[in-house]
């Protein structure tokens, strides 16, 4: 290996490019979508200040809609990224466990009466109970994966199938409706603040995970376990614990998403709440350029990936593409992603770039 200074510099700047490249994947996708909208219909970028039916100021426009509706996905992407990194697999039960978290939340809020006049418990209490329950279900998944060594997708298939029934059972199959206005603050707007609350919740989650990654060893431990379990064990880590931890964190994300989802419509529909969101969350992780086989991860890229998916969804709604055709468009994104990230293509691309450089030099 040559080690003279120029070679070193070349290699490090190349690596720098690679590191930046991972965030570039979702960013490029986002820019592409924006560019498309800019060309076809610039009104996509219009933001207006209006008033909602309660007389409070609200911002509206497609961009606001993206920030608003993408919140849940962004929050789930955080947990899904960690699970993916630590276990090399994905949790496909997040939609179903969101139903459970939402159901628990409503159950605590409503008590035994499915249509209470007043809330039976403060929202914060209900939310904390939902957090605990969702984290327990997360731990259940985690134990299956980490202790019993079941493939994550298969382990979480259990709750994927059973979760919505459990959610229905929690509320005795009733559909509680909450008429309290404070709950809607979490899904819509806080009076006087024109930006949708879910966006603030998502930002709060991002800040929390950002701080956790900065001030704890979560990133190093998770990556080490995801890349080489044997080695992690010999370095004193407990891979079982780390894996369960990642599922528990995802459970917490699920509880937050449950709160937003329930607050949006003040009720719940067990069979359709957060439907298919698990696939979008996984796609967000993949779109962020993270290997679905685990190991290194880039949280920022995953979160941007989530908003890219929402941007795609909103764009397609705007152009009135049939919403049941949405999965087909997402499939195209997946195909492009898989091809772009395939080693063969990267190698070819790198070779091409290298050649161009040589030509430029000459």
């Amino acid at each position: 290996m040559q080690t003279n200074e120029t070679k070193k510099a070349g290699a490090s700047s190349f690596l720098g490019r690679m590191v930046r490249k991972q965030v570039m994947i979702p960013l490029a996708a986002l820019l592409l979508l924006f560019l498309f909208n800019l060309i076809v219909d610039p009104s996509f970028f219009k933001i207006e200040l209006g008033y909602n039916s309660a007389g409070n100021p609200v911002l509206s426009g497609f961009l606001i809609t993206i920030l608003d509706s993408g919140s849940e996905l962004a929050i789930l992407a955080i947990g899904m990224t960690l699970v993916t990194a630590a276990t090399g697999g994905q949790d496909i039960s997040v939609g179903a466990t969101t139903a459970i978290a939402g159901s628990v939340l409503l159950r605590v809020l409503c008590g035994t009466n499915s249509r209470p006049e007043t809330l039976q418990a403060p929202i914060i209490v209900a939310f904390l109970v939902a957090c605990v329950v969702a984290m327990l279900f997360g731990a259940f998944n985690g134990v299956l994966v980490a202790v019993f060594k079941i493939q994550p997708m298969i382990a979480t298939l259990i709750l994927y199938t059973a979760g919505r029934s459990i959610a229905a059972w929690i509320n005795n199959n009733e559909l509680p409706v909450v008429s309290d206005e404070t709950l809607t603050y979490f899904g819509e707007f806080i009076p006087g603040i024109p930006i949708p609350t879910p966006f603030f919740i998502a930002v709060a989650c991002m800040i929390v995970i950002g701080l956790v990654l900065k001030f704890t060893n979560l990133r190093l431990y998770t990556q080490a376990v995801g890349i080489n379990e044997n080695s992690s064990k010999l370095n004193g880590l407990n891979p079982v614990f780390i894996k369960i931890l990642s599922f528990v964190i995802l459970g917490l994300c699920v509880a937050v998403v449950g709160l937003i989802k329930v607050a949006r419509i003040s009720t719940i529909n067990y069979s359709v709440i957060a439907k298919d969101i698990e696939m979008d969350a996984i796609l967000a992780v993949a779109l962020g350029g993270n290997a679905l086989s685990g190991g290194k991860f880039n949280m920022t890229a995953s979160i941007i990936g989530a908003y890219v998916i929402q941007c795609l969804t909103t764009t397609l709604y705007k152009f009135q593409v049939r919403s049941d055709a949405l999965p087909a468009y997402k499939a195209i994104v997946v195909i492009v992603l898989v091809i772009v990230s395939a080693p063969v293509v990267r190698e070819k691309f790198n070779a091409f770039m290298a050649k161009r450089k040589v030509k430029e030099a000459a």
Binding site: N217, L220, S231
Partner: protein, 504 residues
């Protein structure tokens, strides 16, 4: 064109992003010779071989076979195979979940896979003729590493090959197995096969080879007849400098003397684990370097793994400075000040995708706990310090460790444990598969650490390496401790006789 040449490579160039791996290398292999390809790690040996076997495509250069004027193009391993070029790689590239026979015939003889009984019969016959202790129907993963390596060789020689490439084939074999392999290599030579032999074992080169090609930093240094090149010269050519580190190290050993009345740093009694070792006693004093020796599979790794809590400990006592301590998992051992560099670097040591920096700080970060990460600046400082200290050759601290050469990877793992400032460091095969220069560095480092008061247990398959570094050797046979050698008993003969056992 040389008449006798079975393979000629001329002016081979190959670049990777950021690295020129080969520049203008020539290589000639003659009929019926064993040709050693020597060089430090990163010299370009593996790259040259991958070019030859079609794993990489060369950027420039020509390859001729059998003295033909027309050059051949090798674009894939299949094409190489068709041309009679069969490689056995350093890293075993078989499928652990298939049977031995399937591994030997997969993708080679169309039709063989359909006739299972014939395939198994053929495989058994071949295994028997090569004296490989494996059954055709056995699942490969149940074989030991050494047997797996031999199966890989069997797979290669079974094809009608002109050029056999052995890339570090002996690194996981014990001496008897190596002897068997050499016998096989000589047989093949007699039949006119050209054999390229890549190894770090100098003894083996002088035992079996006819000719040596030395490479350094991606360039050809030269081609020599074995009789024209004494060892010291070979080493200096590989290192590219005139020095005799290997002899330097002699005389430094056995400097350790036990101080009166001092309790051993660590002492174990009747320790045994689920890895199948018999209960053993062991102790190590402050500043001592000792070692476990024995044949492959004698249980030397399993002993140190039990001390470190890496395997499931079933019984026995551990004392630190005379006080009993409980070690049931690695973190317990780490908290007691033990560091462990594992035998299988790739499987148990490196965290491949992580950067050199993260690999260095990993163990210390685990010790410091979840809530106390190093800041980026601190981590950078530590990484730079150890990269400099151990002279780790890496593009930057950000480079993923997996893209480093074996020796440098090993240094990173060493740095990882040095950072934890252990009182007791266990090094299991720290020099396996790494270049001579690094080997010497590591041996020197071990002695330096011991002189500073660290206790070190050193395990190596190379006996002279052990003799150079250890002041006491624990000898193992069949998974139990059979002897302990110190002082004047520390010589090859007494070790051999202890390993071999029998009457004394």
């Amino acid at each position: 064109m040389e008449d006798n040449a079975v393979l000629q490579m001329r002016n081979i160039h190959k670049s990777f992003p950021g690295v020129k791996a080969l520049s203008g290398v020539d290589f000639t292999l003659r009929k019926g010779e064993i040709h050693a390809l020597m060089g430090e790690n990163g010299a370009g040996k593996s790259t040259l071989i991958k070019v030859l076997t079609g794993v990489y495509t060369k950027d420039e250069g020509h390859i001729y076979l059998d003295g033909h004027e027309k050059e051949v193009q090798i674009r894939s391993p299949q094409e190489a195979q068709k041309l009679g070029i069969s490689p056995v790689y350093q890293e075993i590239t078989l499928c652990p979940n298939l049977s031995v026979a399937e591994n030997m015939y997969i993708g080679r003889t169309p039709g063989a896979m359909q006739n299972w009984r014939k395939m198994n019969k053929d495989a058994d016959k071949l295994l028997k003729s090569l004296d490989i202790p494996a059954k055709a129907t056995q699942q490969l993963s149940t074989c030991s590493l050494a047997v797996q390596q031999m199966i890989a060789i069997a797979r290669a020689v079974d094809t009608d090959c002109k050029v056999l490439i052995l890339d570090e084939p002996t690194s996981s074999l014990d001496e008897q197995e190596v002897e068997k392999l050499f016998k096989l290599m000589r047989d093949l030579r007699a039949r006119g096969v050209g054999i390229i032999f890549v190894t770090h074992f100098l003894d083996q080169v002088y035992e079996v080879c006819d000719r040596i090609t030395v490479m350094r930093d991606g360039c050809l240094v030269g081609e020599y007849e074995i009789k024209d090149l004494p060892r010291v010269q070979l080493v200096s050519k590989m290192l590219g400098k005139e020095l005799d580190d290997l002899s330097d190290i002699h005389g430094e050993y056995k400097s350790y003397e036990k101080k009166e009345g001092e309790l051993p740093v660590f002492e174990v009694e009747g320790l045994y684990s689920n890895a199948g070792i018999k209960p053993f006693d062991f102790h190590i004093d402050k500043g001592e370097v000792n070692g476990f020796t024995g044949l492959l599979g004698s249980g030397r790794s399993e002993c140190v793994r039990a001390i470190f809590g890496a395997d499931h400990v079933l019984g026995g006592k551990v004392k630190k400075n005379g006080k009993p301590v409980k070690i049931s998992k690695p973190i317990d051992a780490m908290r007691q000040g033990i560091g462990y560099l594992p035998e299988d670097r790739k499987r148990d040591g490196i965290v491949g995708d992580l950067s050199v920096r993260d690999n260095i700080i990993l163990a210390q970060q685990v010790l410091r706990g979840f809530l106390k990460p190093y800041s980026k600046a601190e981590a950078d400082k530590i990484a730079d310090e150890y990269i400099k200290l151990l002279n780790i050759k890496t593009a930057s601290a950000d480079t993923p460790i997996k893209s480093l050469s074996g020796g440098n990877q090993q240094k990173v793992i060493l740095a990882r444990w040095l950072l934890t400032h252990p009182e007791y460091l266990i090094l299991d095969e720290p020099t396996r598969g790494i270049d001579v220069g690094t080997k010497v560095d590591i041996q020197k480092l071990v002695l330096k650490l011991a002189s500073e008061g660290m206790s070190v247990t050193f395990i190596s398959s190379e006996m002279d390496e052990m003799l150079r570094t250890c002041s006491r050797l624990i000898v193992m046979r069949d998974r139990k401790v059979v002897g302990e050698l110190t002082g004047s008993d520390l010589n090859q003969t007494s070790i051999m006789s202890t390993i071999a056992g029998g009457d004394k």
